[in-house]
Amino acid sequence: MSVEQQNKRPLSPHLLDYKPQMTSVLSILHRIAGVALGIGTLMVVCVLVAAASGEADYDMVMEFWRSPLGMLMIFGWSVALFYHACNGVRHLIWDTGYLFKLQNAKRAGIAVLIATALLTAWAWCLA
């Protein structure tokens, strides 16, 4: 059966029909954060290449990254980084077999969100 024929079948309810839960929302956020991180590595490489190209290039690039728009982009990337890292640890714990009970998975999800907020506050305000 071709892909086109297969796609004419009805889909089982998802997205708009399921009530968003801690588990499902955090899961898709993990993926979105991952994509954002991957694209954002361009920023890291940009700074590295600029630094390797000499002082003039470095200063020009850093002027952008220190501007409000640049800082906003870095801030967004950092939130994605902290979230993806903390939720990633939650994933790795799942891989060892723990935290599968739904109540514990949800509690860990809350812990991940709190950790993300704390790390962001630390990195941007306290450090």
Binding site: G38, V45, L48, A51, A85, G88, H91, L92
Partner: protein, 133 residues
């Protein structure tokens, strides 16, 4: 030691030639994703701490810091581990959502080339700073 056609069990030769059935690569992919994830944890901690400490650094401060051998090595390890992890992750996402065969393959190849090129750019820059600076 099994000969090539003996490993395929119940597959017909045509199915084997067409490459149908399970790829057998998923477990390796899954494990590599986890291994790079575990490596990413200390490397990311180092990266974040370094980033915070280098706030406001001018060119000399930044290149001086990166030239220290420990930082050079950790930076390169960070780049390799993160970009490898990213390629694997992007691969899974592409396979999940893209179903037009030609587009999926183009995206998969493009992603690998993109991150590989970015990785080389980053590593070359790090080495250049480290050796020349």
């Amino acid at each position: 030691m099994k000969l090539k056609w003996e490993k395929d069990g119940i597959k017909t030769p045509l199915a084997r030639a067409k490459g149908l059935g399970a790829s057998g690569h998923a477990v390796g992919h899954w494990m590599n994703q986890r291994v790079s994830a575990v490596a990413n944890i200390p490397l990311t901690i180092w990266f974040v701490l370094s980033f915070v400490s280098l706030r406001g650094a001018d060119h000399d401060a930044f290149t001086g810091w990166l030239s220290e051998p420990v930082n050079t090595v950790l930076a390169i390890l960070f780049i390799i581990s993160v970009f490898y992890h990213a390629v694997l992750g992007f691969q899974v996402i592409t396979e999940d959502y893209i179903h037009k065969e030609w587009y999926k393959i183009a995206k998969l190849i493009g992603q690998k080339l993109f991150f590989f090129a970015l990785g080389v750019a980053a590593i070359v820059s790090i080495l250049k700073i480290s050796f020349a600076g």
